[in-house]
Amino acid sequence: MEYSVIILLLPLCMFLFLGLVGHKLSERVAGILGTLGLTVTAVLAYVVAFNYFTMPRNAEGVFETLQPVNFEWLRFTEHLHIDLGILLDPISVMMLVVITTVSLMVHIYSMGYMHGEKGFQRYYAFLSLFSFSMLGLVVATNIFQMYIFWELVGVSSYLLIGFYYTKPAAVSASKKAFIVTRFADLGFLIGILILSFFTQTFDFQTLMSNPTSLVTETAGMTFMGCSVAAWAMALIFMGGAGKSAMFPLHIWLPDAMEGPTPVSALIHAATMVVAGVYLVARLFPMYCAVPEVLDLITWVGAITALYAAVVACVQTDIKRVLAFSTISQIAFMMVALGVAFDSDLHAGLGYMASMFHLFTHAMFKALLFLGAGCIIHAVHSNEMSAMGNLHKYMPVTHITFLIACLAIAGIPPFSGFFSKDEILTAAFEKSTLWGVWMTAVAGLTAFYMFRLYYRIFWWSKPDYGHHTPHEAPATMYLPLVFLALVTCVAGFIPFGEFVSVNGEAYHIHLDWSVATTSIIVAVAAIALATWMYFSENSKPKALADKFRALHTAAYHRFYMDELYMWVTHKVIFQHICRPIAWFDRHIVDGTMNMLATVTNGVSYGIRKLQSGYIQWYVWVFIMGALLIAVLAMCF
């Protein structure tokens, strides 16, 4: 399958082409070129997926891991070298399909959404760069290649969040996203270095062939009470937590909504933010060797899921609600991975569930964001107060949005029901605590999604004036329809046949006790949302007044941003950065300044010697020479 390399090269070429000569092309040509490039990429990805999954399984009943392309890029020592290549295994092939599908939909959608924007060509160039980096990330053959592309997606995310670079909010949001994820990536890098130092390899296949090598190599070594192996894996997880916006590194994602909405759909909902989940899934056998880190992942995921769900319930900016919902859903995947180990009834059910949810979530969350984009396009505002009763004006957006809401709420037969049910089953198998916890979060999910839905499409009609909202153009609603269809049928894909923890075919069967509970919870939550938000009334306000403290705290995201501001400004800047800056300014610069001042002063004093009279110079020269001669003779 050597042709899979074109999947990477095509978006890269498109990025270079649009980036270098894009400004000479008209908007239409640039948009069509970018979309065509991605269409070919997507078709190739589908061909790869088809060929890969129709390949016969090997003797152990698993899909073979292929490396159609791999070349050595940098060699440090005999064992340690950085390669660039393509690794095809079930999860990377699945990710190829997800990324190219969502990216293609976003490319088509953007032709309508970004129509007439300044920098349209630049936008498509960045989209291509992002697609290239993300595809490179998922097919990485070694952890260092993954890290390189990991940073590349960070850069393209930065560029796209700051696309409206004349808006101060967008600029600071892009900086925030970059700095927070970069900080997390520092942990990732340290983790990689520890890992490779002890295992002597970056290569995924070598690591996977002996997943306990790190533990055996570092046996007996501890650092601050934890084993070195646990530290390495936890630090690698920190990188993933930063990219996947896990608490407490989530603060960049809500602000990243300043970017254009299709970008939020592609990067901050469907693909880049699940890179952390993908990373943990990629290294899953190694995480199984250090179960304490898996527990950490479960805890982080569970806390994030609950936190983000609570915050999402009171936000009024529709993109913020979706952002927190994304954080919460990614946390579901993390929890699923965390509980996947040692659930003895179904080995690795959580792993499969996590990947399944990643797949379905990418589709319906992209759909939600694109739908939100249509709504914002129609009413020119992100705020719920500017919306209401839109079901009359935007029938297609309304229906597709409703399908996505039902999917994320976990109502059968939409895709989210199946994947979420698997996650809940896995959580219940680990312990009842996690099962109940995640079911409660799933209920909250249903509530806030339907609050969003009713507030946008029902509630009361605000004064639209003479500017009546209207349905978006076809380039915008066709991707919605496509994604809605995928959301309707994706749940019936026998996902476990393709992706499972050990590669063997895994037959998904619904655990009806869990499924019934989750459906009842979801329906109850939807009913509550209907009661509160179907038509304009004072119930939400009364409830908010009753729980004023909780409401205010949740509305301010439990003051996490303020906490970060306090820690960075009042603690780090004040007590660490300022003394260092003082040292730099006064000691380091001071030494240099002193040298310059002394030289300057001395020069100023002796400059009179240069009188301009040549004969005086000669006289001094001769006398000097004579003096040296006399001294030489004397001594």
Binding site: K608, Q610, Y613, I614, Q615
Partner: protein
């Protein structure tokens, strides 16, 4: 009768210090240039003399002198060109009027 080496050295020393004296005291730049040539020729004489008396079988001193004479000619041409340019600007060649080149 062989002329002793010291006689040549005396001549070259007198030439050299005459040059130094002229260079330091004369105000006319052409006179200074001539003094400079005196110093240079004194050095050339020393090269030849030392070669002739101390290393009669070698030729380095003679050749060094030949090159020095060639370079001195070029250098003199350059100096005269500069002096002519100075004359065009300040209408004389008095070195005391050339005090612009200072701090």
């Amino acid at each position: 009768m062989e002329i002793p080496m010291i006689a040549y050295l005396v001549v070259s020393t007198i030439m050299f210090f005459a040059g130094v004296y002229g260079f330091v005291t004369r105000k006319n730049m052409l006179a200074m240039l001539i003094s400079l040539e005196l110093m240079l020729n004194a050095a050339d004489i020393n090269f030849v003399v030392f070669n002739r008396y101390l290393f009669p079988e070698a030729l380095e001193g003679f050749f060094f002198t030949l090159f020095a004479i060639g370079i001195a000619a070029a250098e003199t041409a350059l100096a005269i060109a500069i002096i002519i340019n100075i004359f065009r600007h300040i209408r004389n060649v008095d070195v005391h009027n050339l005090d612009k080149m200072k701090y």
